[in-house]
């Protein structure tokens, strides 16, 4: 960054800070600035007040993430707020609570998305939220003892897990004697839930009267794993396994961006182009799977559409395998660059990639013939699973789910990283707000990604041979400054994938929090499906394109 621009940014930042101080006033007990945003410490009793003012007066309409953590002397909840119109305009609200009585006001009445986030904070860290409508465990079984990310948790203690709700799903007592409704479990082993999601539904005839997604069947402690690994090498393999639908590089980028921001590492331009190339290939593969499985969900297409999308995924996976050496779990990014240069002979790689791009338009046309012009498909998708833009924002939806509802929000453009700024491409938005819009949005994004890949290939082909620097000079042991905190997000296949890292001066993070797009997107499912038929629930679930590895982490 040049010094002039830096001065401008600082002046802007000061202006913003003054404005924020004006809004929060003397409710701010202290400042606790993070690397990415100004931070204000507020009293646990003022949370709702402050957040309402920030939302209504200052325009922070996106509660991106809620991080909970334990220090030696206190618990802390951090609300990471952003604006949908400008995600670079961020603020963190830090709410400390005492160790003996960790009770803090709930933010749920202000941002609906805080509902699930606070339940997770309660589950894993043990902070209680006053005024929360439904403070239960969300990821771990109800009968779990202790809060695993709190300091005094003992992993060695035995636990008991129940199976009660599955005792006999056909038992007549699932029919409510007081009314005509019937209780129905969907999942956790069900072909349409895209993994191990459990949806508890209450049906009135065939209409959904009430719905509650029950998650945590794939909660494999990703945050704990990352907190036990060293920054330099041991964390990078895990992001591949969050969103495992071949979007590995997009996830790795989330971690890479956060740590590079925290440790102040400048990535060489050549490496950024390779990263952009790989990431967009991943996005294509991921959207192809979303399309294929969605066709499977809505009209049981195990033959044409599904097979065609997998044919195309195989090609992309072959390209990615040439680039990274693995089909799915790439582990290709390094802090400060990528692991190795393009495969030799480079011409062959370029040729294969270009072949794929040349054939893609015809394939997309074929998909449109098969799917979007299909009457059954349209009947199933148009005007089902409606998600209004305001509701989408309230639930913190991002990615194709938000863009299908007309929310023009894409971090690649709004909070640029990598090489996206210098490339020609468009953000796809659709105003339909229904399942159809979300699917179309993904299909068009595939075309946009192809544009980006093509430009990256052009750039890489012409890149001077003596300037191919793939990694910055990064110390063998990374130790960011003690108490440095940052929250950084990238646009993954499913939406905003954010990482919060707090350093304690050692080579391992003191707190590593993952803000997963699927988690927030899925929380809007009830809003989308209530009052609709149960087959529309399956369609909505498919069009949300969730990956349980990322929902549960």
């Amino acid at each position: 960054m040049s010094t002039g621009a830096e001065a401008d940014v600082e002046a802007d930042a000061d202006l913003v800070h003054d404005e924020l101080e004006g809004v929060i006033g003397d409710r701010a007990l202290a400042r606790d600035d993070h690397v990415n945003a100004p931070g204000f410490v507020v009293n646990p009793d003022d949370v709702q007040d402050v957040l309402v003012d920030l939302r209504d007066e200052a325009g922070y309409d996106h509660c991106s993430c809620v991080t909970a953590q334990q220090y030696d002397d206190r618990f802390e909840t951090i609300y990471h707020l952003k604006k949908y119109a400008d995600p670079t305009d961020e603020v963190s609200i830090v709410v400390p609570t005492s160790l003996s009585e960790p009770v803090s006001q709930s933010a749920e009445p202000v941002y609906r998305t805080a509902d699930w986030h606070e339940r997770e904070a309660y589950d894993l860290v043990g902070i209680e939220y006053e005024g929360h409508p439904d403070l239960r465990r969300i990821l771990l079984p109800e009968t779990w003892q202790g809060h695993p990310l709190s300091a005094d948790y003992d992993q060695e203690k035995p636990q008991i897990v129940t199976l009660s709700e599955h005792a006999n799903p056909l038992e007549p007592d699932h029919r409510d004697p007081e009314s005509d409704t019937m209780f129905l479990n969907v999942g956790p082993h069900h072909p349409a839930t895209h993994g191990v999601l459990h949806v508890k539904t209450v049906l009135d005839g065939e209409t959904i009267a009430d719905l509650e997604p029950d998650i945590g069947y794939l909660h494999r402690c990703e945050e704990q794993m990352c907190q036990q690994g060293t920054y330099r090498h041991q964390i990078m393999p895990y992001p591949d396994r969050w969103d495992y639908v071949s979007s590995g590089l997009l996830n790795e980028w989330a971690y890479a961006r956060a740590i590079e921001d925290l440790a102040d590492i400048e990535v060489p331009e050549y490496a950024q182009v390779i990263r952009t190339l790989g990431a967009e290939l991943c996005r294509i593969a991921s959207h192809m799977l979303a399309l294929g499985t969605f066709a499977l969900d809505v009209y049981g297409e195990f033959t044409a559409t599904f097979m065609y999308t997998f044919r195309d995924r195989e090609i992309v996976q072959d390209l990615l395998e040439d680039l990274t050496g693995q089909r799915m779990m790439f582990n290709y990014f390094r802090v400060g660059g990528v692991a190795w240069d393009l495969p030799e002979p480079r011409e062959e790689f370029f040729e294969q990639a270009r072949d794929f791009l040349d054939e893609l338009p015809a394939k997309v046309a074929e998909y449109n013939d098969l799917i979007t012009t299909n009457e059954i498909f349209q009947t199933r998708c148009i005007d089902t699973g409606v998600l209004e833009p305001d509701v989408a924002k309230d639930y913190g939806c991002t990615g194709p789910v938000a863009r299908g509802s007309g929310v023009d929000y894409d971090l690649r453009r709004d909070d640029p990283y990598g090489y996206y700024e210098s490339l020609e491409w468009d953000v796809v938005t659709r105003d339909g707000c229904d399942n159809y819009a979300r699917v179309l949005c993904r299909m068009e994004e595939v075309e946009e990604s192809a544009k980006i890949v093509e430009q990256c290939l052009d750039l890489l082909e012409d890149w001077p041979e003596d300037d191919r620097e793939i990694q910055a000079n990064v110390p063998r042991t990374l130790k960011p400054d003690a108490d440095a905190e940052t929250y950084r997000a990238v646009e993954a296949a499913k939406g905003e994938l954010g990482i919060y890292i707090r350093s304690d001066g050692t080579d391992k993070p003191a707190r590593f929090k993952i803000r997963s797009p699927c988690f927030s997107n899925l929380s809007a499912l009830a809003e989308m499906s209530e009052g609709e038929y149960i087959p529309d629930l399956i369609a909505s679930l498919g069009s949300l394109d969730i990956v349980l590895g990322e929902v549960d982490r």
Partner: protein, 235 residues
């Protein structure tokens, strides 16, 4: 006709019926019996084998897989079913959505405490004889997540597994190899011995009374099925 009077086919020559059959079959060798079965069992159109062996052979060549997606490996499992790898070539390509119609279960991913009892229930619902392929490192040892407070260290803690396919995730080729190995084992009539696993579903009332059970007594009914999860005690 009394029983001391031999039937005509025994008393008389069988030539007329043989001639009739030959006339119907026409010249040359009849290829009606040249089926896959005949190739497998030799030149005679009749199979002389033990019934068990025949059943094992049939079972191995017509495996109905359970459509069971858990984690990352399930994506590679889908690729194995789909175009290019096409596991249907080996007679194992029709995933069944219901465990009651399936006889092979591929466990594709990490088992966590909350999912353990559900997986056990799904396995119990499959009809005998049933076989299990453990796919990926997580089903062997917990894989990269072994240290996690919530992770079961290997699916074999809960259900018996016939074939382990290592990898994170294994490539589709590796899974196909595992499936072929399983076919071979089934054809030979082998299967993993069913032993009592450390993780069992049992009624809450049957658990030995310890501190934890007493604490949870108000929350869980006596006859609710529960599974004990013990991270430290599993190897």
């Amino acid at each position: 006709m009394s029983s001391d009077d031999p039937r005509q086919t025994i008393r008389d020559s069988t030539a007329p019926s043989t001639d009739t059959r030959d006339a119907r079959m026409g010249e040359g060798v009849d290829d009606r019996f040249n089926s896959k079965l005949r190739e497998a069992f030799g030149t005679s159109p009749f199979i002389l084998t033990k019934f068990d062996e025949f059943m094992n052979w049939v079972r191995g060549n017509s495996m109905f897989m359970l459509q069971f997606g858990i984690a990352c490996c399930s994506i590679e499992m889908i690729h194995t079913y789909a175009i290019k790898h096409d596991v249907d070539r080996y007679g194992a390509g029709v995933p069944r959505a219901s465990p009651r119609q399936a006889d092979v279960m591929i466990v594709p991913g990490t088992i966590v405490s909350k999912f353990g009892p559900r997986m056990k229930r799904v396995y119990d619902q499959m009809p005998e004889p049933k076989f299990v392929v453990g796919m990926g490192s997580c089903t062997i040892s917990g894989g990269p997540f072994q240290e996690g407070y919530n992770v079961v260290k290997g699916a074999e803690e809960i259900i018996p597994i016939d074939i382990h396919v290592p990898g994170c995730p294994p490539r589709p080729e590796a899974l196909i190899y595992g499936i072929l190995k399983l076919q071979e084992r089934i054809k030979n009539g082998e299967s993993s011995p069913v032993v009592v696993k450390p993780y069992e579903l049992e009624e809450f009332g049957d658990l030995p009374e310890d501190e934890l059970v007493q604490k949870l007594a108000s929350e869980i009914d006596e006859d609710d099925l529960v599974m004990r999860y013990n991270w430290a005690d599993s190897p």
